[in-house]
């Protein structure tokens, strides 16, 4: 196993945590350890967690810290190689063939200029400049997962017309999953794993004051308390961190325009709860929750 102790000057989890903080991402001990280990061991990083806990954000922050381009591959049901790997530029190939029959110079229609790169191929070809994010892998189907397994173990793909393409160095790959279904054991095994929890109140508080502009400490504290309370309710979609930040910003904006405090929170509830059933469920309790949060 090729182990790199230092990557762009990051020699231990604490360095990484600081670098991530500079990139406006607050990682806890566990996440920075897992991410550091993934980078050092050259293994993919698998991030699982409820929607809205900042999995994709983490990937973006890591790419930022490494100074690399983030290549995002959004998974969906029925995703296949032409969306993930490569595709031949079919119209251009046809044109080239036509020109040839009309006397133009001989062209190799399987040359680079006819190949359309998709994220996985791009990442293999430029492993030092890119971070590959395979987002919401639980949305793809099992066949794609099996294919991914092959890719992640050798970092090699084969294009029948061109032969095998192999990364000259192990690329940085981050996978995220909302855990709507269980991933294959073999896939989990190849990765360094981290389960992202909802943040503790203190951490969420720090995230809000760092990410939102002009939000008073009092407002942030109230938002954190209220959101924490909402997450204990049986809602269809629990508010994530991004929603908490937006709520704090939205309520502050309304407050600046003259709305009183509990009222500003209530009127901006639409940025936190985005489901009619949830709003109906929470309506009778919202007064109590806000009062409690402001106390």
């Amino acid at each position: 196993m090729a182990v790199r102790h230092t990557i762009v000057g990051i020699g231990n989890p604490r360095d990484l945590e600081e670098a991530l903080r500079a990139a406006y991402y607050l990682a806890d001990d566990e996440l920075s350890t897992a991410a550091y280990l993934a980078l050092a061991l050259g293994k993919p990083l698998l991030l699982e967690g409820a929607p809205g806990v900042g999995k994709t954000e983490a990937a973006k922050a890591i790419a930022g810290v490494l100074g690399r381009t983030l290549l995002r591959l959004q998974c969906y049901e029925g995703i296949d190689a032409s969306a993930a790997l490569y595709e031949w530029n079919f119209p251009r190939q046809m044109l080239a063939l036509r020109q040839q029959t009309e006397g133009a110079a001989n062209v190799d229609i399987y040359g680079d200029e006819f190949l359309i790169e998709r994220p996985m191929l791009a990442c293999l070809r430029r492993p030092q400049e890119t971070v590959l994010l395979i987002d919401e892998i639980d949305r793809s189907d099992h066949e794609f997962e099996a294919f991914l397994l092959e890719f992640l173990s050798d970092f090699q793909i084969s294009i029948p017309e061109r032969g095998a393409i192999r990364a000259y160095e192990r690329p940085v790959v981050i996978l995220t999953s909302n855990r709507t279904r269980e991933l294959h054991e073999a896939l989990r095994r190849r990765c360094v794993y981290h389960w992202i929890e909802y943040p503790t109140p203190e951490r969420e508080m720090r995230i809000i004051t760092m990410r939102a502009s002009g939000v008073s400490e009092r407002a942030a504290r109230a938002v954190v308390a209220a959101v924490g309370r909402l997450r204990r309710e049986p809602l269809a979609k629990l508010p994530g961190i991004a929603e908490a930040v937006e709520w704090a910003e939205a309520a502050t904006l309304l407050n600046e325009q003259g709305a009183r405090w509990p009222d500003a929170f209530r009127r901006s509830l639409g940025v936190v709860l985005k489901d009619e059933d949830d709003l109906v469920h929470i309506a009778p309790k919202i007064e109590a929750i806000l009062a409690e949060a402001q106390a």
Partner: protein
């Protein structure tokens, strides 16, 4: 053990302990863990724990158990509450002699399902009289191949009117016609049959129906490509192999020899957990169509049953639960176990007659996911 191994023996002991407790730890994960420990220093016990969590990656619902095992191994603390897990320290194995037949050893395919019995286990053998639903099953078997649930495969095949362009084939054709594209070739994804997993409840409350259910399972195994059949009661028994025999009576006879818990109590939750605890079986359920033939009268812990069904829901493509109690149109899930499991089921329907079950299975592919 030689000298070079001695320093890491304690770490290897932990992975052995994890495996014993039912965590899947692959050798490459152990290697990654050891490399990670070296990378991190380690400065404190927390480094070792974080490295273990990241590289071994236990499922989130087992974090507490994982940490408890870690403490027990590295910090020497004794933690209560480790004994309720599906893979107990001492699984009480079925003590029967291995029945000779196409199926291998008995103990390999039967799992004792864990916690204490709430009802006395009654292990008994059973004989079958030839059934009379032959005609229904024959019609079912004829109709099935056209209506089994299918999934989109990963490979393409050329097909007229398909959604993709078969560029490779077109280029090959063009070569033959002096670079001229004569015809548009299309392709589509190949369809494959989804695996069907059938769980048959053989507890006392389902006594009158088990024979018919087995006959149905036999028809299913014979008619479709990839079908797995298990019986659940107080134990879990895989009976797919004997059911592959062509002759129904012989198949049912051989299968019935394997099942040791006819007409016993019902511990569906434990049996389902036992199923999921065996990675080989759990892999069968992945993306499969799961059919449960059971009345859902759970004598054990209803939350265990709901947990297991929730996990099945994440693994399977669709779950249909056919209960004889649903013959009444006003039927609603009322027992604690079934009420808790209801949200994870794609369909809870009538399983009172063979015709009804057949219709439900044939209908499975048409249904939109709930």
């Amino acid at each position: 053990m030689n000298d070079t191994m001695r320093p890491i023996a304690h770490f290897l002991g932990f992975t052995a302990l994890l495996r014993h407790a039912g965590f899947a730890v692959a050798p490459e994960q152990t290697i990654a863990w050891l490399a990670a420990i070296e990378l991190l220093g380690p400065n404190e016990i927390g480094d070792i724990r974080r490295a273990a969590r990241a590289t071994i990656g236990p499922p989130p619902e087992r974090f507490a158990e994982f940490d408890a095992l870690f403490d027990a191994h590295f910090l020497g603390s004794i933690v209560p509450g480790l004994e309720g897990e599906p893979s107990d320290e001492e699984p009480i194995r079925a003590a029967e002699d291995s029945s000779v037949g196409p199926e291998p050893i008995f103990g390999d395919e039967t799992r004792e399902s864990g916690a204490e019995a709430t009802t006395a286990e009654r292990l008994s053998a059973r004989r079958f009289a030839p059934g009379d639903e032959g005609e229904t099953l024959r019609r079912f078997a004829r109709a099935l191949p056209a209506r089994v649930p299918r999934r989109r495969g990963y490979r393409w095949r050329s097909a007229r009117g398909g959604p993709g362009t078969d560029a490779r084939r077109m280029f090959r054709d063009a070569m033959r016609h002096a670079g001229e594209f004569v015809r548009l070739r299309q392709r589509r994804r190949r369809l494959r049959q989804r695996r069907i997993v059938v769980l048959i409840d053989v507890s006392g409350s389902m006594k009158e129906r088990t024979q018919a259910h087995l006959a149905l399972a036999h028809a299913l195994v014979r008619a479709a490509d990839s079908v797995e059949v298990f019986t659940i009661g107080t134990r879990l028994t895989r009976i797919t192999r004997p059911l592959r025999l062509r002759n129904r009576e012989q198949a049912l006879g051989t299968a019935s020899l394997l099942v040791a818990d006819w007409d016993g109590g019902t511990r569906i939750g434990d049996a389902l957990h036992a199923f999921l605890a065996v990675p080989r079986f759990a892999a069968l359920a992945r993306s499969a169509a799961l059919i449960v033939l059971s009345d859902g009268l759970e004598r054990g812990d209803p939350t265990a049953m709901a947990d297991a069904v929730a996990r099945f829901a994440r693994l399977c493509w669709r779950i249909i639960w056919l209960t004889p109690l649903a013959a009444d149109p006003a039927f609603e899930a009322r027992t604690a176990g079934l009420v808790a499991a209801r949200p994870y089921l794609d369909r809870l329907a009538d399983g009172s007659s063979i015709e009804g079950i057949c219709a439900n299975i044939l209908d499975m592919a048409n249904e939109k996911a709930a």
